[in-house]
């Protein structure tokens, strides 16, 4: 292809003929073998990504057919443009010949090709054994490995919870300090900022509970008991649990992501080398903030839930507001309320610990931070629901005594 270029300074026109953009010629291979056992491979045309290239197997077959061949030579005087496609093909041929103990003479190849092939060979390929030390496992090995890993993880969890207890204990006797700005910031994040979403969801849960209760209770003409059901269910179970679930997604996930990112950025290492324990600097303010804010949020959640119940009762069930709230105040005892508050305290603590634990032990990559955030939320939810089951059974026995 000819190209005419004008020099902007002199105005002279120069004509360049670009070597590699000649008329498109398809790639071609010819073979000539000599009596002395030399196979000459003549490559012509363009060998680029855009051309349909002969498969290397075809060339291998030709080589293996010529039984007496001991040497391979290349002839490339008619070769047009070439790129990586050509290089990989040549490398394939060279590898094939090495495996079949044939000598390859690379002299006939263009200098650029030889240079690049050399470059690719300078660093020896890492052997497969180096990369994967683990052979395919039997199912028993897998179970064993998983069990050991599970015990290891449990060990980390228990140690972490122990450390949190010790740090909180040291804080209570005045030996560990908590940074005031960090604590205030986290209280604001976990407490005040959580109010809108807690309001919305607990109000709706109150509405739902009232509908479910009404559907059953009106059959017995006892629809005023809707107040009892909504009130007691909110106080004992739903307000703490719904708030905890919101906090798990909102705050626990955020803790894991924050601390995980700090691990990736070596910020936590920076605390450690300054002799500032991350437990005190990062975990303590978060655990304190969430554990302290949860009971407040739950008191508020109770209010909203009962409002939701009241709205349904008043507008759908034709119960008077006074009637409803009188029934409600008779239905809830201080025990119900206390049970809910204790639960909220425990849930808050579990959510904060899960978030911090997964964040601190996060891997050092963006993907690992995502994984640890997910793991923190899942762990929080599992712990909330399972501890709820245990606590409910516990309180039931306690109040029964």
């Amino acid at each position: 292809m000819k190209r005419i270029q004008a020099d902007p300074k002199t105005g002279n026109e120069t004509m360049t003929i670009e070597q590699y953009t000649t008329e498109p010629t398809p790639p071609g291979v010819e073979y000539t073998s000599t009596a002395s056992g030399v196979l000459n491979i003549r490559l012509s045309g363009n060998w680029t990504l855009n051309e349909s290239i002969p498969a290397s197997e075809e060339i291998f077959r030709k080589i293996s057919h010529a039984k007496t061949v001991r040497d391979i030579k290349f002839e490339t005087s008619a070769l047009g443009a070439w790129d990586t496609v050509f290089l990989t093909l040549i490398k394939d041929i060279i590898d094939y010949c090495r495996d079949n103990r044939l000598k390859v003479d690379q002299k006939g190849l263009p200098e650029g090709v030889r240079g690049l092939l050399n470059l690719a060979d300078t660093v020896p390929e890492r052997s497969k054994e180096d990369l994967s030390t683990v052979e395919k496992e039997s199912i028993l090995e897998e179970i064993g490995r998983d069990t050991v890993e599970f015990l290891h993880q449990t060990g980390i969890l228990v140690t972490f919870i122990g450390k949190v207890f010790l740090t909180v204990g040291r804080f209570l006797i005045g030996k560990a300090r908590v940074r005031r700005t960090e604590l205030v910031f986290n209280i604001q994040e976990a407490g005040v900022r959580g109010v809108p979403i807690v309001s919305l969801l607990t109000f709706l849960v109150g509405v739902i509970l009232a509908y479910v209760a009404a559907a059953q209770l009106t059959k017995f003409g006892a629809k005023i008991l809707v107040a009892n059901l909504v009130g007691v269910a909110m106080a004992r179970e739903m307000a703490p649990m719904i708030t905890a679930v919101i906090m798990a997604g909102r705050t626990g996930g955020a803790y894991a992501a924050q601390l995980g990112t700090m691990t990736v950025n070596e910020e936590i290492d920076a605390f450690r080398t300054l002799g500032l324990p991350p437990m005190e600097m990062l975990v303590l303010p978060r655990v304190l903030a969430l554990t302290l804010m949860m009971p407040f949020l739950v008191v508020y959640a109770n209010l909203m839930g009962n409002l939701g119940g009241a709205v349904v009762a008043i507008f759908r069930l034709d119960i008077g507001a006074t009637e409803y709230f009188t029934a409600l105040s008779q239905a809830i005892t201080w025990r119900d309320f206390l049970e809910g508050l204790i639960k909220s305290f425990v849930y808050g603590w579990l959510v904060a610990i899960s978030g911090c634990l997964k964040g601190i032990y996060s891997g050092r990559s963006a993907g690992a931070v995502g994984t640890s955030t997910t793991a923190a939320v899942v762990m929080s939810l599992v712990l909330i629901v399972s501890s709820s089951a245990v606590l409910t059974a516990f309180f039931d026995t306690l109040w029964g005594m």
Partner: protein, 251 residues
């Protein structure tokens, strides 16, 4: 300041992650006031050796001594106290992203001194001025450029007036001019304050510009090949690998 006293001594140190040994049989001495370079090819474990020196990774064998005091095999309280004598600048800066420049420098002072808030503020501003960041007190780390972040990291590492400063790849990702300015800053701090410096790097210009002592680590044998002044090693090292590295392969 006496120049001959050994400041840090590594004695037969082996560093490993689990069963994966990174470096073993490390023996070197950093003298007081040295600018000590930990060098070697990519992936030979330079940063890991530094993690051992600053207390982030316990050696599986051997011991590190600071002024003849063992660093690892001591009660935790003593170990923590020793750590406070040095400052560390991390490869990626490791600045606390939720705090401003001044707060980053001030935090160690708040935790470890009984200075008033006003004094701490003054010291923080002064340290920032030392590294050429006067007036950037209220900027967050992500609001300043890469070179500035590195210098901020140096300022934070210096906040407690440490006896030893560690730098992990200080010039990584910096343009030649910024990288040179950082080298000059390191030199100046070393000369004016007499701080011992330990620098992990593979930048030849930095190595010759600032270093007067070094250890050369090898990835293949996973141990040190030699130790000494890099300029002397370049010309006189017996091992060809060291000379090849220090001359960029132009033997």
């Amino acid at each position: 300041m006496s120049n001959k006293q050994p400041h840090i001594v590594a004695e037969n140190v082996t560093l490993a992650y689990g069963t994966n040994i990174i470096q073993r049989g490390l023996n070197f001495t950093v003298k007081r006031g040295d600018v000590f370079i930990i060098m070697g090819g990519s992936g030979c474990g330079k940063s890991t050796v530094m993690r051992g020196l600053v207390g982030l990774l316990r050696p599986t064998e051997g011991e590190i001594y600071y002024e003849e005091q063992p660093f690892w095999n001591v009660p935790p309280r003593e170990h923590e106290r020793m750590k406070r004598r040095f400052g560390v600048m991390y490869q990626k800066g490791a600045l606390w992203s939720s705090m401003t420049s001044a707060e980053n420098v001030a935090l160690p002072l708040e935790e470890y001194t009984d200075l008033s808030d006003r004094q701490i503020k003054k010291i923080a501003s002064f340290k920032l001025a030392l590294v050429g960041l006067a007036g950037f007190e209220d900027y967050y780390p992500y609001e300043i450029s890469g070179g500035m972040q590195k210098r901020l990291a140096v300022a934070r590492a210096m906040s407690l007036d440490p006896e030893i400063l560690f730098f992990d790849e200080p010039s990584a990702g910096l343009d030649p001019l910024s990288s040179r300015r950082l080298d000059e800053l390191i030199m100046e701090l070393n000369q004016k304050l007499g701080t011992t410096m330990v620098i992990v790097t593979h930048e030849l210009t930095s190595i010759f510009e600032v270093g007067n002592n070094s250890v050369f680590l090898d990835a293949a044998t996973r141990t040190q090949i030699t130790t000494g002044d890099p300029k002397v090693l370049r010309d006189q090292a017996e091992d060809p690998r060291v000379r090849e590295f220090l001359t960029r392969g132009k033997l």
